[in-house]
Amino acid sequence: MAHLTEGTLRRMVDDPDVRIGMDKTHLEDCPECKARFQVVSDDAGSIATLLAVPEARVDVSSAFKRVMTAPAAQPRFGFRLPIARPGSRPMLLAFAAVLAAVALLVGVIARDLSLNYTPNTVTPVPVTVADMQALSQLADYGTLTWTKQPALQIVTSAADAAAVAGGLQPPVVSNLPKGVSTNITYAAMPQAQAVFTFSADKASAAAIQHGKSLPKLPAGMDGAKLTVTVGPAIGEIFGNLQKPTGSDASQLNLPQLIVGSSSAPSAISTQVTVKQMENYLLAMPGISAELKAAIKAIGDPSTTLPIPIPVQYATSTTVTIQGVKGVALGDNTGVGSAVIWEKKGVVYVVAGSIKQSDAINIANNLK
């Protein structure tokens, strides 16, 4: 019999009940494994000592009261999360990412407003709920006008979707993981465009409303216009998208897999210097040190699309997809995962309640 693996030996340290059968006999008879077991056991003991902490005494009922009275976070960008009901983690992750992306578009892109922002690569930036709230306060500093309203349409054929998305073809998934439904619904959106006009008056009114703790809008920014263009975009939703029965939206069947592509967002603006905007953004109260560092670490903001990673829900890793840099969102509960990358001016997303390895595999084989 082969020697026992380190993993088996480690488990034997914690759980004498797994010392059974051939493994048990081997451990008793093999001096080498016995010695390794001793090393593993000693290591485990010393790590347990290192990680020991005085126990935290908790008052569950008062903690419960605090949690129940905590104010609910509300997005302040003029839209609310649709069907934000429990059980829809991958969907909510996507919505949260979209929300943060909008906030970041107003923020990060504006780091160099003299440039026409057309990203050609992606990079993850860690975003907390507090960051999103802080950045969304920018919405009070001016007026957001949609010059082309976003109009998402659900259609049943790829041809109809392509027509809505101005000719953008839906990506083709060549190797669907087992268990994922082949029932496809298409979603498509024509190009949408919004103009954000900064206003010194609105900013000072907002500062007063927020208790004067918000930074003052730099003079040059009054009247500056930031035009953000997104889409067209097209997506395929795998799984049965049934309407909820009854009034409880949580009964909505959630898609197992969403594959989408969109023209990379672009932004152009006037009047404000890079330094002004950066200093201003980083002075916003509530911005985490992690996000500040991540924004500063973006080498060339005019060519990098920040992918906001909601740090409380997901960890991200950098991966190579079809020869370019991509961001993989690993959902370690196995409830969901996502991969985002950009190639030739098009941003792609593969997301769903699938394993991260499956998502990466689909991404690499997407046509």
């Binding site: 908790v58 429990p86 949580s250 409380q312 370690n332």
Partner: protein, 179 residues
């Protein structure tokens, strides 16, 4: 019809609240324990735990089967993220040193304990998220099955991951000591 719908909605809301309270009562101490294992600071651990529950409640149903696993994983990641924030780390160390000062009589011992804890936390913050989470969850008393569920891995992988994580942490502690 409208009244019936309203009544049904209220029933759903109150049963959601009851399920959340049951989940909170069952898991709060453990979620604090996980965060405390990482942060070595009971007050900050409670902050993290409460944030985790608030986030959970906003996004999920307490009746979901994955609820405890989600909470455990979120507690590990949220506290490890906090640990990685340098500014907060410094602040915590000062607070910790003061707290240790209150409890420990022997000043020499006090310095040693707080220095060890600082080194271990610094080492933990340098580990990759998964090994760090495995260590913390297991050290917090989660079973192999619970660790596997929280991290979305097979139960057979836990021993291997744990062993590797322990070796990695030991190396990081040694590296921290020799620097």
């Amino acid at each position: 019809m409208g009244t019936n719908l309203g009544a049904r909605r209220m029933t759903t809301v109150s049963s959601d609240d009851a399920a959340f309270e049951a989940l909170f009562t069952a898991e709060y101490a453990r979620v604090v324990g996980i965060a405390n294992r990482v942060l070595a600071d009971p007050h900050e651990a409670e902050d993290v735990a409460q944030e985790v529950f608030i986030d959970f409640r906003r996004l999920h149903s307490a009746a979901a089967g994955y609820a405890p696993a989600w909470l455990h994983r979120a507690a590990a990641h949220a506290s490890l993220n906090r640990l990685r924030g340098a500014r907060r780390r410094q602040r915590r160390e000062i607070a910790q040193a003061m707290e240790e000062g209150d409890r420990t009589l022997d000043p020499q011992k006090q310095v040693e304990v707080s220095e060890d804890r600082r080194l271990v936390r610094a080492a933990l913050s340098r580990l990759a998220p998964k090994p760090a989470a495995v260590l913390v969850l297991r050290a917090s008393g989660l079973s192999y099955a619970e660790v596997a569920q929280a991290l979305g891995i097979g139960i057979g992988q836990v021993g291997t991951l744990l062993r590797r994580a322990e070796s990695a942490l030991r190396k990081e502690v040694i590296r921290g000591t020799s620097n």
